[in-house]
Amino acid sequence: MKEAKIKIRNVSFYYGTKLALNTVSLDIYANQVTAFIGPSGCGKSTFLRTLNRMNDLIPNVKITGEIIIDDVNIYDRQIDVVNLRKKIGMVFQKSNPFAKSIYENVAYGPKINGIHNKKVLEEIVETSLKRAAIWDEVKDRLHDSALGLSGGQQQRLCIARTLAVNPEIILMDEPASALDPISTSKIEELIFQLKELYTIIIVTHNMQQAARVSEMTAFFYIGELIEYGKTKKIFTNPEKKQTEDYITGRFG
């Protein structure tokens, strides 16, 4: 097996004095989909947000341990969070397009990076929308408001917006939880295509989804990483009792 892209070592996370993640260690590999599953409140979303340091925005939090991406400890004092987030895109649970046109939504990232050449922007917007498999649906109305799109389209637009910054890693926080089955399957198909290009980490409460899209699965329970391994193995032959209980729907 090739070298891990992200190495997480003994990461603990506190909200104030409350422990939300307890010494989590795992390796995440490039160009694969890694799924985090677990009941709500188990810390999987918190963990995801430590990876692009979104938790920095919350006051009174503390993190210990190391998160190393390609030999770089992203919690090093020398690390620029803004540049880090450019390399680690994030798609949120609820689609959150800006109240701007579809075009402006996708061009937002490149623009803040100082790209103002109209032609380049158009290329980036087109490529990103194509990659997010939404180009055919919106190419005739790029300058309409993004808020006029359906929920599923909005979520794919948000993915396109993330792709436009050209990240290395894409974090997805329950990206399909608010969507209907058809939109969900479109997103899943998209994730399957995108892993050719990006390292994808997805948080989901939908176990079928995790089984369908991911190569690796990590199961969290009350702030602890219970089990981590190949998705197939986790779903067919889990080692821990808790994992089995969760997978078979006995709690959660």
Binding site: D71, D80, I115, T127
Partner: protein, 422 residues
């Protein structure tokens, strides 16, 4: 398979199949896209789907902390501007108070040789200043008496004039019962003004507070939602009435109507002014009372209703007492508004500085005194300083009122709600 390629290193957007036929568009901006990625180690994997992908590695170099000047400056500027609000409060205090300083300085001037002091005053830059000042007063020619008074005192060598300067307001004088600033022997007794202000405030609050609080109780406890959404903006509309409009209405309409009705002799008096000021205070008291009443936890009301109390009993025995500290704060804010109200006082109170308990006599309030006389005094004159002293008093009073309402009442309110819920 790892192939290092300089060309791809700066490549931000990879070619996808669709774009292969128009490479020129991509060549040109390469360098500009994300310059910090230049020189990064690069590995590219050719993938099966015809997508060319350059995989960057995360390097400490590319993620090195950057100093963003615009970020730094914007934060500092924003903080600085926000800080200015505090500065303004301090400046208001300083500058309003500064103009009262001559009152405090008079004693020390008597001790030093008066002539010297005045020579300095007249000779250096003061000359231009005085000349300038005289011109300013040109706009208010009717104040010649007091202007003459003060000019005499500034003339160098006029020692005696200075020492027996009749315009002097000692602190004892400020407690006097007469306010006659423009006369041969000016008297600056603040008593009638202070008592007048209190009189009118009491009258106004006696009228405004019950009306506003009962109305708020109706809106918060008894009215259906649709009615509430009409009542609230309608009463708040009153807050949008400029005080000069209320003053005008009181002066032209209310004063005559009330005089006909009550048959008193002085047309403009504390009663008319008080009612008019109540109109200005009602929306303030109403809005705040209404807000605290709606903020009373639903659980209180439900508990009361569950015990079999009727809607009105709940409102009067539960909602109203629970909201008391907030209502108290609302009344304080209303008093603050009435205390500082200038235009209504100027127009509708008759402006006679009398000491009287009769509500149908004219009064002169502190703020109206400033408004009426400031345009007609000489800068630096005792009269001028006394007016600023009145301003300082008003400022300190409202500041204290606000601080009290803010910290004491709010703290009590929070303690009450949280204490009971917990």
């Amino acid at each position: 398979m790892k192939v290092a390629s300089e060309g791809d290193a700066t490549f931000v957007f990879e070619k996808s199949v669709e774009m292969d036929n128009e490479p020129t568009n991509f060549e040109e901006p390469k360098e500009k896209l994300i310059p910090q990625d230049k020189g990064e180690e690069l590995t590219s994997d050719k993938k099966t789907r015809g997508l060319v992908r350059g995989t960057y590695r995360f390097t400490a170099d590319s993620l090195k902390k950057k100093v963003r000047l615009s970020e730094f400056i914007s934060e500092k500027v924003i903080t600085g501007v926000a800080f200015l609000t505090i500065t303004i409060i301090v400046l208001i205090f300083l500058f309003v108070f500064r103009e009262t300083l001559p009152l405090f300085r008079q004693h020390s001037q008597k001790v030093t040789t008066t002539a010297q002091v005045q020579e300095q005053y007249g000779s250096d830059e003061g000359a231009g200043r005085n000349a300038g000042n005289q011109e300013v007063y040109g706009i208010t020619k009717d104040s010649i008496t007091s202007a003459d008074n003060s000019r005499e005192t500034i003339e160098p060598g006029n020692n005696e004039g200075r020492v027996i300067f009749p315009d002097k307001a000692t602190f004892k004088g400020l407690w006097g019962k007469e306010w006659m600033p423009v006369s041969d022997k000016p008297r600056y007794g603040l008593m009638p003004l202070i008592l007048g202000t209190f009189k009118i405030s009491i009258l106004a609050i006696l009228f405004a507070a019950p009306l506003a609080i009962l109305a708020a109780l109706f809106s918060a406890a008894f009215s259906p939602k649709w009615l509430r959404e009409i009542i609230k903006p309608a009463i708040e509309l009153l807050a949008g009435f400029p005080s000069v409009v209320i003053g005008f209405f009181a002066l032209m309409v209310m004063a005559s109507v009330f005089q006909n009705f009550f048959g008193y002799s002085t047309r403009l008096n504390a009663f008319v002014g008080g009612i008019a000021m109540a109109l200005a205070a009602i929306p303030i008291i109403f809005t705040m009372t209404e807000d605290v009443m709606t903020a009373v936890p639903e659980s209180y009301k439900e508990a009361s209703l569950a015990l079999g109390a009727s809607k009105w009993q709940t409102a009067f025995y539960v909602t109203l007492p629970a909201a008391t500290p907030g209502i108290f704060a609302a009344i304080l804010l209303g008093i603050g508004r009435i205390f500082g109200e200038t235009m209504i006082a100027l127009m509708a109170t008759g402006n006679a500085a009398l000491i009287s308990m009769n509500p149908f006599e004219s009064v002169r309030t502190l703020s109206a005194t400033i408004g009426a006389e400031m345009a007609e005094v000489v800068f630096g004159d005792t009269h001028y300083s006394v007016l600023f002293l009145i301003g300082s008093l008003l400022f300190i009073f409202t500041f204290a009122l606000n601080a009290f309402a803010e910290f004491y009442v709010k703290g009590k309110m929070v303690a009450r709600f949280q204490g009971r819920i917990a």
